[in-house]
């Protein structure tokens, strides 16, 4: 399973990528939408884990752009906000079960990744 992590908190995504690698998942990370779009031009991912509140472009908009480039990619949203507005918008995009609120336990994330990953 190849996972793309997108969050402006570098320390969060880099540590998460290392922890996922320990569990056999290849995870790449970027901290902004431009880098995410660049990366998917050259590499393919099964799942993208997107922060809802990214600088300059929110996670929902980024999801739509990534989908155009990689139609088979699946998405999980991660947010620190947990507002009803975010929940409704993200649930409409990916299903309410794939909307996680920070801080998230690795076991919960692993379960979601395995659930969404259907080879």
């Amino acid at each position: 399973m190849r996972v793309l992590l997108v969050d402006d908190e570098e320390e969060l995504v880099s540590t998460l990528a290392e922890r996922l690698a320990m569990r056999g998942i290849t995870a790449s990370w970027v901290t902004g939408y431009r880098a995410a779009l660049d990366l998917v031009e050259h590499e393919s991912f099964d799942i993208a884990l997107l922060d809802v509140r990214l600088p300059e472009m929110n996670g929902l908009e980024l999801k739509r752009l990534l989908e155009v480039k990689r139609p088979s990619m699946k998405f999980i949203f991660l947010t620190g906000h947990g507002s009803e507005e975010d929940f409704n918008a993200c649930s409409a995009e990916s299903g309410k079960q794939f909307y996680l609120i920070k801080p998230v336990q690795i076991e919960v994330l692993m379960a979601k990744l395995n659930e969404i990953f259907q080879p």
Binding site: E9, E11, L12, E18, G80, K102, P103
Partner: protein, 219 residues
Amino acid sequence: MIRFQGTANTLGLLFCGTMTASMSHEIKNALAIVNENAGLLDDLILLSEKGRPLNPERLKTLAGDIRRQVQRADSIVGRLNRFAHSAGQPVTTTDIKEILEFTAALAARMAAMKGVTITVADTTILLQARPFIVENLLWLCLKHLFAMSTGNQTVQLGAESADSHVVIGIQFDEGVAVEEIGKLVTQEGQPLIVALQADVSVDAHRHLIQLTLPKKFEE
């Protein structure tokens, strides 16, 4: 005046809501990083129990990372606490630079999300006012800039003395619709402008909005 006071309070509530939502999000991010670093420590210990040697330098780095995030969260909570107390603060004499710097700190995360950098000019002028209402009016200027921002912009907050008044300047980059921002701030912020006995003017050539406030507040 009573009607304006009521709507000034309503604007204050909206200001509080926006700022507390932003700061709680920042705290969540710091906690999420602490959570991942603590989890990584668990993972490394688990691996050591299976025979992989623990690297003390790595552990030191992780402990340092956790400490930094705790300090970060503590600083945000400090800002939140100061902001919460400022809402009920009466008319007081304050250095305008403190108000400008605090407003810039409150808005920093939202500015970063919109690709805007806020700077504060070095200035010292004493102003007698309710700091919360001045911050609220400044926030309206920044909020409308953020809404229009296409990224990679700067805004400078400064102030100068003009006889019995303080003139706060919000200087935008060339190309920003400063007249539109001034119009929106004057409309939305009218109760705050009245409460502060202030005046809002726009200098489109200098990409500048000026808030003129009396140095001494008359009840």
